[in-house]
């Protein structure tokens, strides 16, 4: 997979505090989650990439451009959605996005048209002439997203894009991110603490801690347990759950837990075993209403890796 960002040994100090300690990673095309505890260096990295803060040593390569010498070209190709709410007094959403479009290099007419387009795309068509200072969190996030999109950059950096949103806005923004990533070829880097958002939209992740990369790679491979044995959870209709648990045990299944669901172990590729479970149910007048593997969530992996990383240091 091609990489749009290649970072090598990035070092950044704030006085005596080492924010980036030889940070090295590859960001591939598509949607990538940038994760890490507070203070891990995510914001510092983003600011170095945008040229807002200089870095001491290391290299950043973006679409063939090298920082810091090509910073002007790089800025024009990145759209940034900051975590904080951006407010300008007495300015409507439309004016704000238009103005920021001109700051990114569009002519005034092009800026107006693009602002109109992107505000519609994010779903703010009615509110776009209202004063931004009255907006709800969901609307604010959409304005910020529109601002990041308005100059059609190759890379979008979204910092907590759904923070503070009510469920509807949250859903809409995630859909927009998925749409931009899958259907419009945008590369997106999402920095967030809401890991299910990343599970839903991203294809790769980078986990950072204390200025270094802890683990990076395709989401699929990071989440998949490599073990041969997986843990299934099951619920049945038409009979008592404890009875079914006993039946499973009698058939040599390793039952690990029984509460409202039964947990038991099974070999991954053993189709016959899967089928036999259904047969056991049917033979006893029951049917299966749920059977699913316990999925390791991104949060579990994240906490594991961070804990491991803390112990190593």
């Amino acid at each position: 997979m091609q990489n749009i960002l290649v970072i090598r040994e990035l070092v950044k100090n704030y006085g005596s505090f080492l924010a980036l300690d030889g940070f090295t990673c590859d960001i591939p095309k598509g949607v990538t989650g940038l994760l890490g505890p507070n203070g891990a260096g995510k914001t510092t990295f983003i600011r170095s990439l945008l040229g807002i803060l200089p870095f001491e040593s290391g290299s950043i390569e973006f679409l063939g451009y090298k920082l810091p010498k090509d910073i002007l070209a790089v800025k024009d190709k990145i759209g940034y959605q900051p975590e904080v709410d951006t407010k300008i007094l007495k300015v409507s959403a439309m004016k704000y996005v238009t103005h920021m479009a001109t700051m990114a290099g569009l002519s005034r007419n092009a800026a107006k048209q693009r602002a109109f387009d992107t505000l519609h795309y994010v779903g703010l068509e009615e509110a776009r002439y209202r004063d931004m200072n009255d907006f709800s969190q969901g609307m604010m996030q959409k304005v910020k997203l529109a601002t990041a999109l308005v100059h059609d950059p190759a890379l979008l950096i979204l910092d907590e894009p759904t923070a503070g949103c009510d469920p509807d806005a949250h859903e809409q923004i995630l859909n927009l991110i998925s749409d931009l990533g899958s259907n419009h070829g945008k590369n997106i880097l999402i920095a967030t603490h809401l890991l299910p958002d990343v599970e839903r939209t991203a294809s790769s992740v980078v986990i950072m801690n204390k200025g270094k990369t802890v683990i990076q790679g395709e989401l699929r491979s990071i989440l998949q347990k490599k073990d041969k044995i997986i843990n299934l959870q099951i619920r049945v209709n038409g009979g008592d759950i404890n009875k079914f648990a006993k039946l499973l045990q009698e058939n040599n299944f390793e039952v690990t837990n029984v509460t409202e669901t039964i947990s038991f172990n099974i070999e991954r590729e053993d189709d016959e075993k899967y089928l036999s479970i259904f047969k056991i149910a049917r033979n006893n007048g029951m049917n299966i209403r749920m059977m699913t593997a316990y999925q390791q969530s991104l949060e579990d992996v994240f906490l594991d890796e961070i804990a491991k990383n803390q112990m190593e240091n």
């Binding site: 704030y14 914001t43 510092t44 600011r47 945008l50 040229g51 807002i52 803060l53 910073i71 002007l72 800025k75 024009d76 990145i78 940034y80 900051p82 904080v84 709410d85 951006t86 407010k87 300008i88 007094l89 007495k90 300015v91 103005h99 920021m100 001109t102 700051m103 990114a104 290099g105 569009l106 002519s107 005034r108 092009a110 693009r114 387009d117 992107t118 795309y121 601002t147 999109l149 100059h151 059609d152 749409d179 931009l180 259907n183 419009h184």
Partner: protein, 328 residues
């Protein structure tokens, strides 16, 4: 398909309503700075109702200069240039003690009302938010994700300099031309007069502009910046007057009062080195010559101007280049 159908199908299309990409050209970078200047000028006009009121008052009073212009030919035996110079110089001055006059005859030739205090307030109110509002609204980061620091600063400085020039240069040039016109003189003879006005206005806009911008970037709220700006001018003038009165023989002390400094700068730009200062103890006008090799000289004024500009620029540059993560 018929011939008609084939032709029409070549222009037909179906495009879903979704995100569109942008293939247009990007503007040269200096144009972005211009857009920023434009935006700042428009929003600063919008932001303060009080400033709008003050500007209207200033404009109203400026019309009185038309009256004064008509009065000029009636003044009789006076040095015309002195009258003109003093009127121009007093535009931004505080009508307080130790004002500096264009000659030492003991008569004040200033035509026009002392609007200085109002305009200082307007400038303070207008410029105080340039950085303070951006810091509060947390938009500096977004700006810097698209512009480099020097472009961002240039935009702000450009905007305030243009703003102040509009408030200073326009009225002064118009007033100056009205005066010359009503005197029946030839404008060509007064080109150095006009040039002096332009130079004064530019230097004023840079000094006052940089000062309010430095205040704007140092404080948290725009109200603090405009307040400090105004108080500095007001109390600085009073204290400066008191210090000078303590030792009237030391002409250099005149530079301390901001109002007097602006007056001196005006006279120097207009080329009038033959001035007078009121000595309050003895109630007489004392001669103040800026070109007699003694005491305050004209080049002192320029030197101090340059030093002010350098110091303010350095402070501004330092604050911008060293913005901490919090401030962003």
């Amino acid at each position: 398909m018929t011939e008609d159908q084939k032709n029409s199908s070549s222009t037909d299309y179906l495009q879903k309503f979704t995100y569109r990409s942008y293939d247009g050209e990007l503007q040269p970078r200096w144009k972005r700075v211009l857009y920023l200047i434009r935006f700042e000028l428009i929003s600063t006009w919008r932001k303060s109702k009080f400033a709008k009121v003050l500007i209207i008052i200033v404009l109203m009073f400026s019309f009185f200069s038309i009256l004064f212009a008509a009065m000029l030919p009636l003044l009789g035996d006076v040095v015309i240039r002195d009258v003109l110079n003093e009127s121009i110089a007093n535009y931004l001055a505080l009508p307080l003690t130790n004002s500096i006059f264009s000659n030492s005859n003991g008569i004040s030739y200033s035509l026009g009302l002392g609007l200085g205090i109002l305009l200082i307030m307007v400038i303070g109110l207008a410029g105080s938010g340039f950085f303070a509002d951006d810091k509060r609204g947390k938009v500096i980061e977004i700006y810097l994700s698209r512009l480099v620091k020097r472009e961002y600063v240039t935009g702000k400085v450009g905007a305030i300099v243009i703003y102040i020039n509009i408030l200073v240069l326009l009225p002064l040039i118009i007033t100056g031309m009205l005066f010359v016109q009503s005197l029946g003189e030839d404008h060509a003879d007064y080109l150095d007069f006009y040039f002096g006005i332009i130079a004064y206005s530019l230097l004023i806009s840079i000094i006052l502009g940089l000062f309010i911008l430095v205040l704007s970037i140092l404080v948290e709220k725009r109200a603090y910046a405009s307040l400090i700006f105004f108080l500095f001018f007001f109390f600085g003038t009073i204290i400066g007057a008191m210090i000078y009165e303590g030792d009237p023989n030391n002409e250099l002390l005149l530079l301390i009062s901001p109002s007097n400094f602006l007056l001196l700068l005006a006279y120097v730009c207009l080329g009038d080195y033959d001035l007078g200062v009121r000595n309050n103890e003895e109630y007489i006008m004392v001669e103040l010559n800026l070109d007699n090799g003694v005491g305050l000289e004209y080049w002192h004024v320029f030197l101090v101007t340059i030093i002010y500009i350098l110091i303010l620029s350095l402070i501004l540059a330092y604050k911008i280049w060293k913005t901490t993560t919090e401030e962003l």
